[in-house]
């Protein structure tokens, strides 16, 4: 099993078991070749080259502003790379969209918007039905099914605005699942949630990983070694590692400045106290 990063890993055996199922020689589901990107300024990403195999469970980590969300947006085809090429499911990200489920960052939604839980989930069916008129019965059935899958059966009629933070995130995961995707992309699904709620969300995603490839962005390194099989470290440059090869030194290198910033004030405090 080798050295694990951070705390001793009780789930280690489970991860190794899963790894045997993972086919490393399979056709990759995401391929990035020498991808660079900038928003009219310095490069946000530079020469990113990696691939993700099907059924992998990937966490994208890195400091704020390091390019994590940019990487996800490239995979969705919402932005085009400056140089290089991104392929998802063997085609361009735009063409692959119908088979990709996406969960955006929470901040960008209006929490007071007048919709029910089922209304939100049904938005995931938009690409499937006719162009106008009401949703079909089969679409409703899919929506009910995925709500059950994320642990919120019978919640369809509740107003979206009345839910707790963790429940809302589950609804947005259900909306992504309603697309019946092969790949799930999630941008900071656990931001601003209690640790216990975070953990149950990670557990849900691990269950979904039984049948889907899951890639998510997190700024929270603590859970990485416990749940994920692969880690993509993004800080302008991009490196992919199996989780078991992720060492404290690698994380410290990437978060270098932030780690110092975190330690500095506590040192000062103890100095002032003595």
């Amino acid at each position: 099993m080798g050295a694990h990063f951070a705390s001793p890993n009780t789930h280690g055996s489970k991860i190794v078991m899963k790894e045997e199922v993972l086919r490393m020689d399979a056709e990759p589901i995401i391929v990035c070749r020498d991808v660079s990107f900038s928003y009219d300024g310095p490069l946000v990403l530079q020469g990113a080259t990696f691939s993700v195999v099907p059924k992998d469970f990937v966490c994208v980590i890195g400091p704020n502003g390091g390019g994590k969300t940019t990487l996800i947006r490239l995979m969705l085809g919402l932005i085009e790379p400056l140089r290089g090429k991104v392929e998802v499911l063997g085609r361009s990200p735009k063409l692959a969209r119908s088979r990709v489920g996406y969960m955006p960052q929470r901040a960008h939604l209006d929490p007071e918007f007048p919709v029910s839980v089922l209304d939100v989930v049904l938005m995931g069916r938009l690409g499937h039905g006719p162009g106008f008129g009401p949703h079909r019965r089969s679409d409703r059935a899919v929506a009910e099914r995925v709500l059950t899958e994320v642990g919120l059966p019978e919640m369809g009629r509740r107003p979206f605005s009345s839910l707790s933070g963790g429940q809302r995130q589950r609804v947005l995961i259900a909306r992504a699942l309603a697309c019946e995707p092969e790949l799930l992309l999630l941008d900071e699904p656990t931001a601003n949630l209690d640790p216990s709620v975070q953990e149950s969300l990670y557990a849900l995603l691990r269950d979904l990983n039984e049948r889907l490839t899951v890639v998510l962005v997190s700024h929270d390194v603590g859970f990485v070694s416990v749940f994920f099989r692969t880690v993509i470290c993004v800080n302008r440059t991009v490196h992919l590692h199996p989780t078991r090869e992720l060492t404290a030194q690698r994380v410290a290198d990437m978060y270098g400045r932030e780690v110092r910033l975190l330690h500095h004030p506590s040192g000062q405090k103890s100095g002032a106290g003595s």
Partner: protein
């Protein structure tokens, strides 16, 4: 009330007025709900004020150039759609300058309207009725056009409900699901423009925003799905426009202002009752 009912049976202009209020309320409830939930009331305000330009130009051409087929309402339709498309394209492509452009169009539209009206011989009272509405002046001809616009707005608004809902709630996600977000956003603004034209007859362009938003805001206190808000807001709007007509008729008050005052009072009442309920 008695006096109003007697008059209603006697005078066709009162029947037209009542019908115009009801027709306008349907478009108002549906499009108002989209506008409020998508938070684009400022855009609706800009479009509303731009219609004065179109009405002024149309009235000038009608009177001075003898284009007798051209009514001010036609000018309002053209200028409202034009304003909606310009504002929409600007807000899609240059987000940071959206409010500047809206403010500019808002004022320029009014300025053009006032200039043309000033140079048109005739009663200057027309300006007042454009600004503050005079539902008692609605003609049979106006009613046909308002009705046609209403049918169009309601049909499109209901038929593409799911698309509009998704675009209003989460534009990016809708785009990823293959929805042509830009198209539906511009379509929504055009519906807003046509609704504004319908409402201008009822309350005038200055007070359009109040009728577009207040019934929706009131409805939002009782139901919490968009289509339910649409239904309830339509009903509230019918009650308010009819109430405004009834209340204003006897003492000879301006009907548009009476309607808006009623709407404001009801909104306040609902807010206060909500406070009391929450405190109890």
């Amino acid at each position: 009330m008695r006096e109003f009912l007697d008059a209603l049976f006697k005078f066709p202009f009162l029947q037209y007025a009542l019908l115009a209020g009801v027709i306008a309320s349907v478009a108002c409830g549906i499009v108002g709900s989209y506008v409020v939930s998508r938070r684009i009331t400022y855009i609706a305000g800009g479009v509303a004020h731009c219609t004065l330009g179109g009405m002024g130009v149309a009235r000038y051409l009608n009177t001075v150039c003898d284009w007798t087929w051209l009514q001010p309402l036609h000018g309002a339709v053209v200028s409202a759609i034009l304003a909606a498309l310009i504002i929409g394209l600007v807000s899609l492509h240059a987000r940071q300058r959206e409010d500047t452009v809206i403010s500019a169009l808002w004022a320029i539209g009014m300025a053009v309207g006032i200039l043309f009206i000033a140079k048109t011989p005739g009663y200057q009272e027309d300006l007042m009725s454009y600004l503050f509405g005079n539902i008692l002046l609605v003609s049979q001809q106006d009613l046909v056009l308002i009705g046609a616009l209403d049918v169009l707005v309601v049909a499109v608004g209901v038929l593409f409900y799911n698309k509009f809902l998704a675009v209003c709630f989460d534009e990016e996600f809708a785009r990823l699901r293959g929805v042509k977000v830009e198209f539906y956003y511009l379509l929504l603004l055009c519906l807003t423009a046509l609704t504004v034209v319908v409402l201008v007859n009822v309350v005038g362009l200055v007070m359009v925003i109040a009728l577009l938003t207040l019934p929706v805001a009131i409805a939002g206190n009782f139901v919490n799905r968009l289509w339910q808000i649409m239904l309830l807001a339509t009903l509230i709007s019918i009650v308010l426009t009819t109430g405004g007509l009834v209340v204003s008729y006897g003492p000879g008050l301006p009907s548009g202002a009476t309607t808006i005052a009623l709407a404001g009072a009801l909104y306040l009442l609902v807010l206060i009752m909500g406070r009391i309920k929450r405190a109890a």
